[in-house]
């Protein structure tokens, strides 16, 4: 019966899109006011969905509710950005729903009010493992994509400092190392995300790749990317060029640039990559990391930098570490120093309810007890309102 009422409410939402813009917690009462002839709502349950799919219009009253990301957006904006478990969930439920949460709302508020004349502000999302930092980052990216910013999204910097199959010595600078596979994969995804910008931005220098190929000054950025994808050996250099050009040109004001890096602590940590003589490679010696570090410094303006710290992929860091100081290390912390930290906490009770409702609506919780209050209390205890843990628990039910 509970499920039926919830279904009824969500269908009502979809029918009247402008209906819920003014109430969040008052939603059930307004339902009672308008539908008082129908089934009475027993208690103000958190309604789990909202029909507002434009992140720009998300406000505090939408907190705890899931909004739908259309599949088109998913393919363009997030070719590589979403965490794997979320991708699996999207595939299972056949829809991509993201929960609106306070840290993300805060971040969006800041992004809306960025002053593009000032140097780029750095926002660091940090929190315990599994609290939703990556998804909050994705929320911000979706917002920026809708606002037509250029998105430079590195899905997981940790992937660049470990498990690399081939390290080549850089053609540009002998001291450094190239990672052709990762670079070319990233370039492909970057291209999908920012198609329409590639023809607009023009390169401001001449780049010579090898004896036969070169990119002339004034040719569109798309050419550089094509070159990188086609010639895998030069992919890392292509990435470096892209980063340099974007940084230079964002100050001109043609476009707004959002640099979003997940797993930023990889940039200043240690690597597990070794040279042929089995000596360790420092992160600076990787060309990708070197260029990315330059990107993350705030000596350019015309955009914003959003970073996420992650212990999950990090190397040589204890499991309990989640504060910026611990994960970034002294060096990283100094480089990033004036930044705005945003803590991503566990679910509050309303968000937890909403999450459970969402799973119930999608028939994800099959256990009979999961619909009862006791079952919910058990889940709350076992996961301690941690989104990641809750998701893993519910996958068994």
């Amino acid at each position: 019966m509970l499920k039926g009422v919830t279904g009824l409410i969500s269908r009502v939402h979809k029918l009247n899109p402008g209906f819920f813009l003014h109430t969040g917690t008052q939603a059930p009462q307004s339902i009672v006011a308008h539908l008082d002839n129908q089934v009475p709502v027993e208690s103000p349950r958190a309604v789990s969905r909202t029909s507002e799919s434009d992140p720009a219009k998300h406000r505090l009253q939408h907190e705890g509710q899931h909004y739908n990301i259309p599949f088109q957006d998913l393919k363009t904006v997030f070719p590589h950005g979403l965490p794997t478990r979320f991708v699996m969930q999207v595939k299972t439920f056949n829809e991509a729903c993201l929960m609106v949460r306070k840290p993300a709302l805060e971040l969006l508020h800041y992004l809306k009010n960025t002053n593009f004349a000032h140097p780029a502000v750095r926002y660091v999302l940090y929190g315990e493992k599994g609290t939703g930092k990556t998804l909050s980052l994705c929320h911000a990216i979706h917002f920026c994509a809708k606002q037509n910013w250029l998105i430079l999204h590195i899905p997981d910097a940790h992937r660049w400092v470990k498990n690399c199959k081939d390290l080549l010595q850089s053609t540009y600078n002998n001291q450094r190392f190239d990672q052709p596979l990762e670079a070319s994969a990233w370039l492909k995804n970057f291209k999908t995300t920012n198609e329409h910008f590639l023809s607009q931005i023009k390169v401001q220098e001449k780049y010579i790749w090898n004896k036969r190929e070169s990119t002339e000054k004034g040719s569109p950025l798309g050419d550089v990317i094509e070159q990188g994808i086609a010639r895998v050996r030069n992919a890392t250099d292509a990435v470096g060029i892209v980063l340099k050009e974007l940084k230079r040109q964002s100050s001109l004001g043609i476009f707004h640039l959002l640099v979003a890096v997940d797993g930023t602590n990889a940039l200043w940590g240690r690597t597990t990559l070794k040279r042929e003589d089995k000596s360790l490679v420092a992160p600076e010696e990787l060309a990708l990391i070197y260029n990315l570090r330059k990107m993350v410094t705030n000596d350019w303006h015309g955009g914003a930098i959003v970073l996420t710290l992650s212990q999950t992929g990090s190397l040589f860091k204890p499991r309990n570490a989640y504060l910026p100081q611990e994960l970034l290390g002294k060096e990283g912390f100094d480089v990033l120093d004036p930044f705005i930290p945003i803590l991503v906490p566990n679910y509050n009770p309303r968000e937890f309810e909403s999450c459970i409702q969402y799973y119930l609506e999608n028939n994800w919780l099959q256990h009979e007890k999961s619909q009862t209050e006791e079952g919910k209390k058990e889940l709350l205890f076992l996961s301690n309102a941690n989104p990641g843990q809750l998701e893993r628990l519910c996958s068994y039910l």
């Binding site: 499991r319 006791e374 058990e378 709350l380 205890f381 076992l382």
Partner: protein
């Protein structure tokens, strides 16, 4: 003073040695010595050796010597025990007159500490009647004629008991019929309270009768006693009471911690718990939001495995008090699972003070309040582990 000590030590050690030895081969009594005496007494008459039934509980006691304890021997043992008891009391500096069995046990445990797990293998000093098995006196006279009329049934005490009980039954029925005939019979509806006591088990009955019984015998006896009980007569009840033992109620032994109050007036209760080699101490606050901190770390981070968190959840789930209490605990030793079990025990015990008596009883029956006695078993020499033997090679 030294000499008496030495002698008493030797006396004590002799007693202890006997105690230890005898407790391993219980209740073996034969009549060799008795028969030998008879032979001596009867002179040249050759008597058949009678080996009367022995109540052996351990069937796999291989080749046990048939010990004979003459009455004189037992008397001597009792004297020695008493002397030894007085010496022990002197040693411990206590009054010999008021030295009870519990004091003796404590003194022995103190003087001769033993780390053996098996309680029966440790040194004991008890009155000979507890140590030496009960034996029957000689059951036939000088002419060889047995005293009891049921001697040739083989189980004379058992059959005589059955006869007695059945006789009582018949008497009571006759009496009741007479009363009914006169019309004076009162239907008593008072039923005896059988809760809190249990029938004798077969071993106990055997011990009482000093005779070996079969299962069928035992069942018949209990059925007869139950039939007696249905008659509702005072005489019968007294008779039957001899064969019932009381069962102590376990939960009365469990102490409930009193609540303590801290500065803000919040009630809290502290308790300890153990599991394997992990020790935990939990402080449960009365009002809270369901947060649990272990050694200062949130329980989600301290126990990443769901199984451990489920262990922590059990007491709260059982009492349905999910978001109501805050817990702060410290734990050390053991492994991940042992620590979780120790914390669970500690929180359950601490929650007892916030909860009604009936719920404490339910918790005890659910096993939340019992310390798990399982400990790691030691590795034995000649084996690879505690139980695993070395690979057997045929050649």
């Amino acid at each position: 003073m030294a000499a008496p000590c030495v002698s008493c030590c030797s006396a004590v050690s002799y007693r202890l040695f006997l105690g230890g030895r005898v407790s391993l081969a219980p209740r073996q009594a034969t009549w060799k010595a008795a028969a030998a005496e008879l032979q001596r007494a009867a002179g040249s008459q050759i008597l058949r050796l009678r080996h009367t039934a022995v109540v052996t509980t351990k069937k796999n006691v291989a080749a046990s010597r048939q010990e004979t304890y003459t009455v004189d021997f037992i008397k001597k043992q009792i004297e020695e025990f008493n002397i030894g008891k007085r010496h022990l009391a002197n040693m411990m500096g206590e009054d010999p007159e008021t030295f009870t069995q519990e004091d003796i046990d404590r003194a022995i445990a103190y003087l001769l500490p033993s780390g053996l797990f098996e309680k029966r293998a440790r040194p004991i000093m008890k009155h000979p009647e507890h140590i030496f098995p009960k034996q029957r006196a000689i059951q036939w006279g000088e002419d060889g004629r047995p005293f009891h009329f049921l001697f040739y049934t083989g189980k004379q005490s058992y059959y005589s008991l059955m006869h007695e009980a059945y006789g009582k039954l018949l008497d009571i029925e006759k009496h009741q019929n007479q009363l009914r005939a006169k019309g004076l019979f009162l239907e008593k509806t008072k039923t005896k309270d059988l809760i809190g006591s249990r029938w004798l088990i077969k071993e106990e009955l055997e011990e009482m009768l000093v005779e070996k019984l079969s299962d069928q015998d035992y069942i018949h006896f209990i059925q007869l006693l139950e039939r007696l009980l249905t008659l509702q007569c005072g005489v019968a009840e007294e008779f039957v009471q001899r064969f019932r033992r009381s069962v102590t109620i376990q939960s009365k032994k469990h102490l409930i911690e009193p609540l303590q109050y801290d500065e803000q007036g919040m009630a809290f209760s502290t308790c300890e718990g153990k599991r394997k080699s992990a020790k935990a101490e939990a402080v449960v606050y009365e009002r809270g939001s369901g947060k649990i901190k272990v050694n200062g770390i949130d329980y989600l981070l301290y126990f990443p495995v769901i199984q451990d968190r489920e262990q922590l959840m059990f007491p709260f789930h059982f009492l349905d008090r999910f978001g109501k209490h805050d817990v702060d605990c410290s734990v050390s030793g053991g492994g991940r699972s042992a620590q979780a079990g120790a914390i669970r025990l500690a929180t359950a015990k601490a929650l007892c003070s916030f909860v009604t008596e009936a719920e404490v009883e339910w918790m005890r029956q659910a096993g939340l309040l019992t310390t798990d006695p399982r400990v790691r078993e030691r590795k034995k020499p000649g084996q690879e582990g505690a139980r695993r033997k070395f690979t057997w090679k045929k050649r």
